[in-house]
Amino acid sequence: MQKSLHIDPGKCTGCLQCESACSLENEGLFNPAKSRIKVFTFHEEGRFVPYTCTQCDEAWCMQACPVDAITLNPENGSKDVNADVCVGCKVCTIACPFGTINYNASTGKVVKCDLCGGDPQCAESCPTGAITYIDSDATGLDKMRAWASKTDNAGA
């Protein structure tokens, strides 16, 4: 059974542990600006929404890449950027209708969530259970994907 990140914004308190853990794991330093998961703050309603790649099946980023730098990880279903191959053209960043693959000007490459190779640190570090890594069927991710798949012209 494939697992996915399940995000429940209702439980998020905006503590940003996930951003710190992500940047530490992937960039080797505590720098939320470099995190692949981002917590959005809705001040009006006092609400926090953690947001990252859903590893969607369509994988627009992967399809659009001109040099085959994004590949499917067969183990956990993540779509991973191979930084050695990426030329930094950024086409994937406009192709992704979720806006979850982003250009990092300091490296000249793009970054996205790769589920930390199957042990996502954001979920690990989240103290409230707002981010969990669970069986895909239970995540409600399908609905988000269904919404996004309106972007798919072929309509499946």
Partner: protein, 422 residues
Amino acid sequence: MRHVIIGAGPAGVIAAENLKKLDPSGSVVLLGAEDKPPYSRMAIPYFLVGDIEEEGTYLRKSADYYASKGIEVRQTRVSSVDTASKRLTLADDSTLDYDKLLISTGATPVKPPIGGIDLPGVHNCWTLADAHKIVERATPGSSVVLMGAGFIGCIILEALAARNVELTVVEMENRMVSRMTNEVMGTMIKDWCVAKGINVLTSTKVGEIQESSSGKPLKVMLDNGNTIDADLVISATGVRSNTAFLGDSGIEVRDGIVVDDHMQTSVADVYAAGDVAQGRDYSTGEYYVQAIQPTAVEHGRLAAQSMVNGHKTAHRGTVNMNILDTVGLISTSFGMWMGVPGGTESESVDKEKFKYLNLQFKDDVLVGASSLGMTQHVGAMRGLIQTAKPLGEWKERLMSDPTRLMDAYLASAQQQSADLSA
């Protein structure tokens, strides 16, 4: 079932992969006219910079990839298509029969009507062969004149600047990338490039190029009376779809090969995709040659689906979108970035920090956007445009502060998933 694909760029390769996936027992032949493995034109700038070797531009990296997928790749030009007998004639006069044909032959640069355009040292920047010639002449300190500051011109500009050449850009429009920027944004891009030491001449034309015996090998005469001595002139003044070989095949060609919403041409069992195809534009509903990588890929996939599964779901068109890096300043444009009649616009400008965001609405739906200096979550603009999600109260919030785009996106995306579960 034999599927034949003419053209081994991104559209052709994605189509070949999808054809094999959907019809494993069918045969797939992929024909390309260049003596290179299938490669991506848009990786050429990174080859020019020296970030990658030629191999880095290849669409798929391992040498036996196509064979391992059961895709037969042949390097041969197609010289004509007979749609009545479903037969292609190849450059060596041999023939090849097809059951279903995909034309993905891309485009070729147009030659501006200028004296001296065929002189040695005047090149396009379109193929790997061009790129090798440019690398030879664009050595540090050499003088390079780039004709055209359109999308492709500006991409090459970045690569040339990185080669430390003395660069002059000559553009006849009043701004850079006029097809993806309004005047405010185009002017900001120009100001940025000038600040980076690039000589940008807008509203200027090259009149003639001459050979010169003193100093630099070329003399570029401008319509403002000035001349520039150059080692290399690069012409990036637009492209035209490769359709000449279609002759009297009966396949309808306007700006490109006209395709319907299943990517089929005017002739049954013949499909077209990518830069050569004039397909539906999502925003206008009109048929238009977009000539961008994401569209080539989407066309290739859609064509393969129609070729194998038949004409099931009409596709609603591709969103025109671009992202450009001009010496470190990143700009994007999506859909109707120039606005629509009766629409409203929201704009945020910071000329000092080179930041700009412009959103275009029809009622409370985002229909277009353009940005400068933004790298995070830019794809959400595509998402909002293509899902045409009514923004409700967020429309007014975005009118007063367009930079809250991502908040609006999340609020409406989540609203939508609640709608779906209800």
